[in-house]
């Protein structure tokens, strides 16, 4: 059984707008997925449907055997799939950080020694220092509030976590921190991660599978490399692959793979291509094949 099974899902808003028009989709446990597509393509609606926050107009969403349309399954669902909203202000209800993280477990009926342990664990995992436990979330920075929101979701120990625009409005360091953290959850703790994002460099560096939505339908679904290697179809979703991928594709050099997605990969390709073509050039040999440079920042192991 797959973790998530979606059959012919449609969703219509109250005013008659169709946001999703027949989606079939499966997620296996342990995947790292990026949902991409332009504004209004239905990404957020789709993600909320996956988490059971929106009920399908027609079709079915089954999370780990539980149909999200059934009544009274909220507590079952949140243990399987967590959803982190885009704006932390909408999801921080409590007067201090500790209560905020403890809120979900409390609703699940978990009591104190165990709850306390869970809170500390979730906070540590999300990089929220215990010194902040008594602070009012409202006065903290946006990056920190985002992490508190993630910690609050983690505290319910879901198998899968959906994060809506984790890096919007964050700089490289903060984005990298959040993404590295999600990667650790994915790799070390076996969580399934789904992110909704506009940032292609983030997708390239972290996601394993990319799902591109266009007008409420899935247009592309494949490994990150495969999807970025199809610029023509991507253009229909108005998404551009990262600049290095575009360069590699434009150069069309047989020595450079057309599916590179990081600066390091392209530099290595370029270096070996140059070295390969002109072995006479001493400059080329000197710095040519330094294996250490093959590591990317935050790039997961191959």
């Amino acid at each position: 059984m797959s973790l998530l099974e979606v059959n012919d899902l449609t969703f219509q808003y109250e005013d008659g707008t169709s946001a999703l028009r027949g989606i079939d989709f499966t997620v296996e446990e342990g995947e790292f997925i990026a949902l991409i597509g332009q504004n209004g393509s239905g990404k957020t609606t789709f993600a909320k449907s996956l988490a059971g926050l929106l009920r399908p107009t027609t079709g079915r969403v089954v999370v780990d055997g539980i149909d999200t349309a059934r009544k009274g399954v909220i507590k079952e669902l949140v243990r399987r799939i967590g959803y982190v909203f885009q704006n932390p202000d909408h999801q921080l209800f409590n007067n201090n950080v500790y209560d905020e993280i403890a809120y979900g477990p409390t609703n699940l009926g978990i009591d104190d020694p165990e709850r306390d342990e869970i809170v500390r664990e979730a906070a540590a995992a999300a990089g929220v220092r215990e010194a902040l436990f008594t602070e009012h979330p409202f006065f903290l920075t946006k990056g920190l509030r985002q992490r508190i929101a993630i910690a609050s979701t983690l505290a319910m120990r879901p198998k899968a976590i959906i994060v809506d625009e984790p890096t919007t409005g964050q700089d490289y360091r903060q984005s990298a921190e959040i993404m590295t953290f999600l990667t650790r959850l994915w790799r070390d703790e076996g969580h399934t991660i789904i992110i909704v994002t506009h940032e292609m460099p983030i997708v390239a560096a972290y996601a394993q599978r990319v799902v591109a939505l266009c007008e409420g339908r899935i247009l592309l679904d494949g490994t990150t490399r495969d999807v970025f290697a199809r610029p023509d179809e991507l253009r229909r979703t108005f998404v551009k692959p990262p600049q290095v991928t575009r360069l590699a594709q434009a150069w069309g050099d047989p020595g450079i793979a057309s599916d590179v997605i990081t600066v390091e990969e392209l530099v290595d390709g370029a270096v070996s291509s140059i070295v390969g073509r002109s072995s006479a050039s001493p400059a080329g040999i000197s710095g040519g094949t330094d294996p250490a440079s093959a590591r990317g920042p935050g790039r997961k192991g191959q």
């Binding site: 007067n95 008594t134 602070e135 009012h136 409202f138 006065f139």
Partner: protein, 208 residues
């Protein structure tokens, strides 16, 4: 936590510190408008959740009036006067002429709370028993009594209740409405005030 630094020094919150420049600004007008918006939402949803119509006997809107006035001074009082027009109409609680007749009650329900807090130097974060007393007596009981006094007069004037029913209606309204005011208003003061007092929209005097 910075918000607790004034604990034990009730009333200091209203003191304008030396060198502190306070004058009415765009932020106050904007906050007033947003507060009317909040009032419309709370008033409408509150009325629809407990649909007893024009009888404002269980209406969280009064808490919004009182608390808004405590936070935003005259701007909050004005907001509290006008949002019921729209929330009453949208929730089907009272038509526009009845809302217009309620106007003085709306004023009183907000004004009494803020006047009591400023004159008696209460702290809206409800830090001491004294703060609580000021809130419960003036912000809840007296404000609701005066509001109900006027409100029942309006109701009998419009023929919505008989004259003989005024006294029981007055008592019912006062105590009935004190419950949501107390619960909802206390929650707002306790939980939201720490955020409000750090905002530029917070009003120490009457207008700024």
């Amino acid at each position: 936590m910075a918000t607790n630094s004034a604990a034990g020094s009730s009333g200091r919150i209203w003191v304008v510190e030396e060198g502190e420049r306070r004058s009415p600004g765009i932020i106050h007008v904007v906050m007033m408008a947003l507060f009317i918006g909040i009032g419309i939402v709370v008033g409408t949803l509150g009325s629809l959740a407990i649909p007893i119509g024009f009888v404002s006997a269980f209406w969280p809107g009064q808490a919004v009036q009182a608390v808004g006035s405590i936070w935003f001074g005259a701007w909050g009082v004005i907001a509290g006067m006008f949002f019921p027009f729209i929330s009453n109409a949208m929730s089907g609680s009272a038509p526009i002429p009845v809302s217009a007749a309620y106007l003085p009650a709306n004023f009183i329900q907000g004004f009494l709370a803020v006047a009591a807090f400023k004159l008696l130097k209460g702290d809206p974060r409800l830090l001491t028993a004294r703060d609580w007393t000021i809130w419960v007596v003036f912000g809840v009981l007296v404000a609701n009594f005066v509001g109900a006094f006027w409100g029942t007069y309006v109701l009998s004037w419009f023929g919505l209740i008989t004259d003989q029913a005024r006294i029981p209606a007055l008592l019912g309204w006062t105590f009935g409405n004190s419950i949501p005011s107390l619960i909802f208003g206390s929650i707002l003061l306790k939980y939201v005030t720490p955020m409000v007092i750090r905002s530029k929209a917070f009003v120490k005097g009457w207008w700024a």
